[in-house]
Symmetry: C2
Subunit: 360 residues, 2 copies
């Protein structure tokens, strides 16, 4: 494969994102150097295949700062000085406060372009790095009046090399969007999970998938999120205040549950939730995932899933997504196959004629 | 397989839960009759294999009312009269308000036992029914002083026949638990999704997995949830008020982000979320899912997944869970295989020696 990115890329900070970027660029044959405040961490990322250490005489054309938000501006300004020919970007989840600080440092804004790849994993660290972490993900390219077109192009090429979709917006537009779509869900999830901290075990024993999904991201790193949320307080506050007002309305409705109009108001809140979720773009960018689902029951023993997929493959049918639900103590598992609607009927026919049991 | 349940089971209401119970009991050879306010719906469930219609001379020993909460008490009281020898249960998500109404109806409480199987799907209706919907799930058996031991035994045997784990608690204990573990997450998820209803498309384009997970259950049926939430207002209100107080604290911290102590308070909120989520029992009842994950990159073409699983099966290795992440536009997919930790090393070795590319 040919890389769009030319020249040497220097990555500062070899955690999950830095390592993933290094792995992906190395796969494309790009020269990658690595740097981290921890020598052990950079050695690990290097062993892992993400790049080599910086050497005298290296000619860096792009610097990617993959450091926590509280040291991002300092790292960016320092990189702009250390590598006077290079374009510099960062990958922090907030953009305005960092831009302001870089500006205050008197740095060259023509060569700085903020990035925010909308990708991550619950597990951090170099060992969690994956070359395809960014594939199919939006990659915000934060563009200001001062930014040179050439600098923008370099970062958009980087995003494309990593399989991401570059989206241009200003730092302020970015921070406004992520307050709603990322930062508010994070703190609301943490608050909801916080309610469980002192609960009785007997209450928690009834936990189902709903509470698990709504609280999953509450497992994220508090130190990192404290930096993100406080750096974006200005955009986050209106979202949280709107939420608080709506919540107060729900509490009032529930307190007056037998009075006229209360239930109607509560019903409207639930319907607004339906509307909100319907506006989320589909998992891979389209508004609605167009796949049809077919659920097959399989025996819980080695090779059964392979036999199933073998037969599906032999019929020339491509599986778009697959979920295996394996219940403890059950002798069967449920396999949910997602396929393009056009081949659903053929899939069902193939499975039935091969004796598979379909559920649902 | 031998059923623990003896005699004829009559199911009133053949939506998702009623149909699923019928399918599971029929699989065990239990005699099942069906009834629904809609003749078309009962015919569908019957065709689907969930049971037959009620006939003159039928001797019903257990009635399961699978109707919405607002008609549950009426259905239960009516069933206690119509089938004077039968034990009667229901599957509604609230228990105290229904119990109170059944009591007010002057019904025989020795033969009524409230149930709440902690299972469901986002899709309702008979066609979504699955015989193993309840496998591995908690099944609350709501027991009061008046309930006869024989009636309790009948419902616990039913739960066991369906593969569920019966958990005895009073109606009040149940409602207290589900307010925290189910009803609060539902309304919080709806409120969060409601914030998205009027958002700009450009903001929504940045949506990632976090906002999707936290809002997934906001897609649930507003009519059903309006009944559930309003019927459990008494237990739900303290949870929501506690949440509102915590949220107000977060808002204050973010407003005073540069003053001493503010960040520490916000950090404590995020840490409480970590603690809360760590207290949730594992997906299948154990506190932590003990599986090891191995991620394999596969080409996006028919048969690749089958080939992978074939080789894993041929090595005698059992897959406990599987997730396929298929990114649009990418030529590769990621398959996350979950296995018992004891066989992780062998799996990795097998995959590598067969030339598979491992990620992460």
């Amino acid at each position: 494969m040919n890389a769009r990115t030319s020249g040497q890329v220097h990555i500062i900070g070899t955690g999950l994102l830095g390592t993933s970027i290094g792995l992906a660029l190395r796969n494309l044959g790009v020269e990658v150097s690595l740097e981290d405040s921890s020598p052990a961490v950079v050695a690990l990322a290097s062993d892992f295949g993400a790049g080599r250490t910086l050497e005298p005489g290296d000619n860096v054309s792009l610097v990617v700062a993959c450091v926590p938000p509280d040291v991002a501006a300092e790292t960016i300004s320092s990189a702009l000085s250390r590598f006077p020919e290079a374009v510099v970007t960062d990958v922090a989840s907030v953009k305005s406060s960092i831009l302001k600080e870089v500006l205050n440092n008197g740095s060259d804004l023509t060569r700085y372009v903020g990035s925010h790849p909308m990708a991550g994993r619950e597990k951090g660290g170099a060992l969690s790095g994956r070359p395809d972490l960014f594939v199919g993900r939006p990659w915000v390219v934060a563009v200001e009046n001062e930014t040179s077109l050439e600098s923008i192009r370099v970062i958009e090429q980087l995003a494309l090399d990593l399989g991401a979709t570059p989206i241009r917006m200003t730092a302020q537009e970015h921070d406004h969007a992520v307050a709603l779509i990322s930062h508010a869900p994070q703190i609301i999830s943490s608050l909801l999970a916080g309610r469980l901290a002192d609960a009785d075990d007997s209450d928690l024993a009834l936990a189902g998938q709903g509470v698990r999904d709504t609280t999953r991201i509450a497992a994220s790193d508090p130190k990192l999120w404290l930096q993100i949320l406080s750096a974006n307080a200005h955009e986050l506050l209106p979202v949280l205040k709107g939420f608080a007002t709506d919540l107060a309305g729900v509490i009032t409705s529930l307190e007056q549950v037998s009075s006229a109009g209360s239930l109607a108001r509560l019903g409207k809140t639930l319907e607004a939730g339906n509307q909100g979720i319907s506006r989320l773009p589909g998992k891979h960018g389209s508004r609605n995932t167009p796949y049809a689902q077919v659920v097959v029951m399989i025996d819980d023993k080695p090779g059964e899933l392979a036999r199933l997929l073998n037969e599906v493959g032999a019929a020339g049918l491509n599986i778009e997504d697959l979920n295996l639900d394996h219940a403890t103590g059950a002798q069967v598992g449920l396999v949910e196959l997602s396929v393009l609607p056009a081949i659903e009927a053929k899939l069902v026919e193939t499975l039935k004629s091969n004796g598979w049991r379909l559920a649902g």
